[in-house]
Structures are given as structure tokens and as C-alpha cells.
């Protein structure tokens, strides 16, 4: 029974830490703000959830389990809300996605070349 708990919590912690590191690499390597936000969203919800589930399996006290459930619920509520507000503020203040700029430039070039 003890080794089952150890292996299952280690599995969840391994998946969670892999997702955290991949989210960090994505935050560093992606070319655009909105694609970086995708990487951070994956890390905030799934990676944190996996690590907290792994800690929940390890916990022996009921109060610790309840606090971990509370942290997990807060994370699941806060992460998507923050992503939504951030994307909305960035888009309202005129930050365009990277491909959209080139599309607009191409359209402008086409209209400029076709007009005269």
C-alpha cells in the first residue's frame, strides 16, 4: 500500500514538473504574446493541478488535504480569469498578434498596388 502511494504521487509530480518546465521553455521561446499566453495557461492550470494532486496523495492529515483542495480550487479559478483579463487588456490596447500584422501589411500592399 505504501509503495502504491509513493509511485502514484511520484507519477503525478513527474507529469506536473514536466509541464512546468515545458511551460517555462514555451514562455521563453514562443514568438508572440498570445502564443506565450497559451504556454503559461497550460502551466498554470494543468501543471499546478498535477503537482497539487501528487501532494494530496502524499498527505496524511485531513486538514492538509483540505488546504490542498482549497489551493487547487483557487488556482483553477484564478488562472483562466487572469488569462482572460490579460488577453482582453492587451487586445483592447492595440497589441496585435504577429501573423495579423503581416496579413494587414499584405492586404495594404495589395490594395495599394491595385488602386493605381
Amino acid at each position: 500500500m505504501d509503495i502504491t502511494i509513493t509511485i502514484s504521487s511520484g507519477f503525478f509530480l513527474l507529469i506536473g514538473s514536466f509541464l512546468c518546465v515545458s511551460g517555462g521553455i514555451g514562455l521563453l521561446r514562443f514568438p508572440d504574446f498570445y502564443t506565450r499566453m497559451h504556454a503559461v495557461g497550460v502551466t498554470d492550470t494543468l501543471g499546478a493541478g498535477m503537482i497539487l494532486i501528487g501532494l494530496m496523495i502524499l498527505s496524511t492529515d485531513f486538514l492538509v488535504f483540505a488546504k490542498l483542495v482549497m489551493v487547487l480550487l483557487l488556482t483553477l479559478l484564478i488562472g483562466p480569469t487572469t488569462s482572460h483579463v490579460l488577453a482582453k487588456a492587451a487586445f483592447h490596447n492595440g497589441l496585435m498578434p504577429k501573423g495579423l500584422n503581416t496579413l494587414e501589411q499584405n492586404n495594404n500592399k495589395e490594395t495599394n498596388s491595385s488602386n493605381p
Binding site: G54, L86, A90, N93, N101
Partner: protein, 97 residues
């Protein structure tokens, strides 16, 4: 495995700090700081389990709430006129090449 997860979270926090320093726009920096705060919550929980003191989870809950409030506050402040020039300047700088 707890220590391995802690090291992975440290690596993710270092990458988030690099993006927060080098980020071209204001929103990249806010995004990096938000990710840093979430990773801090996980780090405090893991350190509580490693050191055998699960009372650290209260601090983790408070950190999650402070992180949320600070990000919402900075974004509400970014709707004012002083901040609106920053992304348009960078956007025009990116358009030139």
C-alpha cells in the same frame, strides 16, 4: 521526487524571470510575473512537504490571492492613457523590418 519537482519549478521560475526582464511589451512582463507567482505557490507547498511542516499551505493560499489581486490591479491601471503608448510604439517598431 519532491526534490525533483522543486528543482523543475526553480528552472521554470528562472525562465519566467528571463522573459520578465527581456519581454518586449508590458503584457509579456505581467504574464511572466503572473507565472512566477503561481510557481511560488507550488514551491511553498512543496517546501512545506519537504521540510515536514505542512503549515506552509496557509502562506500558499495567501500568496495565490495576492498574486491574483496584484495582476488585476496592474491590468486595471494599464487601461489609462500613459500605458496605451507602450504597445503601439513597440508594434510600430516591429512593423519596420
Amino acid at each position: 521526487m519532491l526534490i525533483a519537482a522543486t528543482l523543475a519549478i526553480f528552472v521554470a521560475m528562472i525562465l519566467a524571470i528571463i522573459r520578465g526582464i527581456a519581454g518586449p511589451t508590458l503584457y509579456d512582463r505581467i504574464l511572466a510575473v503572473n507565472m512566477f507567482g503561481t510557481k511560488t505557490v507550488l514551491l511553498i507547498s512543496l517546501l512545506g512537504f519537504i521540510m515536514g511542516r505542512p503549515e506552509f499551505l496557509d502562506i500558499a493560499i495567501v500568496y495565490a490571492l495576492i498574486n491574483f489581486i496584484s495582476v488585476i490591479g496592474v491590468l486595471r491601471y494599464s487601461d489609462t492613457n500613459q500605458f496605451k503608448h507602450t504597445p503601439t510604439n513597440n508594434e510600430s517598431a516591429e512593423k519596420e523590418p
